[in-house]
């Protein structure tokens, strides 16, 4: 299945360096329409007012965490089917289980490599 790489992708992380890294890695695999947010609440505002095909979010952010953002997305009638990848340093079983129960599409643990990011995106968008 071919993936529409012209879609808008929202990346969410409170570390600006991390946003820059993910943006560049996405650019290398031809996702050029990338927008950024630095916490869950800003991301939610952008998602509700924009037209995004994928969210890639960190977990540990304030005031709204990535998990809370995911829960808000899944509770929103317009956004509930949005592919949502969590990229986080939180690697305990309880974290993965909580994210899965909240409806995460896939989960990447930091530090990650470009191949993992590419593979998860293809899997998530292939299933969308």
């Amino acid at each position: 299945m071919s993936i529409d790489k012209s879609m808008n992708v929202l990346i969410v992380d409170d570390y600006k360096t991390m946003l820059r890294i993910i943006r560049n890695l996405l650019k290398q695999i031809d996702f050029n329409n990338v927008d950024e947010a630095t916490d869950g609440s800003e991301a939610l505002g952008k998602l509700r007012s924009g037209n995004f095909g994928l969210v890639i979010s960190d977990w540990n952010m304030q005031p709204m965490t990535g998990l809370q953002l995911l829960q808000e997305v899944r509770a929103d009638a317009k956004l509930k089917t949005m592919p949502f990848i969590m990229i986080t340093a939180e690697s305990k079983t309880e974290n993965v289980v909580a994210a899965k129960q909240a409806g995460v599409s896939n989960y990447i643990v930091k530090p990650f490599n470009a191949e993992t990011l590419k593979g998860k995106i293809e899997k998530v968008l292939g299933n969308a």
Partner: protein
Amino acid sequence: MPDQPTLMVRLEDLRQHYPTTDPEMVAEVVRAVLTSMRGDLSSGETALLHEVEELGVMIANARHEIAELKVDDITGTHIPSATDELDAIVAHTAVATEAILEVCETLDTLAGKSDGDVAATLQEATTRIYEACSFQDITGQRITKVVATLKKIDAKVSHLLSTFGKGRARKGTLLDDAQVDADLLNGPQLPQNAMDQSDIDRLLASFD
């Protein structure tokens, strides 16, 4: 209790004479109590009071030793200094990482203008640099965990000072700040404790 008014007077007298506590004062108070109550106590009660006296001396000595350790320096200087240094490390690595990324983006632009093997080699190199630069996020989170631990120690030392009567525990609890989102936010795990991507993939697959 015919001795009670005398005892109260003596205790008040001692308090007036010794506004600050020292080990000898504690022992003297207990000795005064024992003297005042002599004849009214059984041998068991006397033994118990002697133990209380020894306990009082031990506590007073411990307090004296803590004062000698200059724990105020820990809460007043060492811990704030350590947290400042750690914050500076995060700030400096962030600046350095941004500089590396900027150069990397220039190389990426060059890759876009190149052909064949040169372009592929350049892109492979920049990809590896981008991956490596994520260290700044991980180290930042690890350092944040260390700072939170230092703040817990700071709070406990302050509590210790307060318990031993110095009355100089700072207001507010840093401990509370360190416990935000404690339920699920654990931060990066040490490599020997962490699940890697394949562990997480297996766990996710188990839901299907």
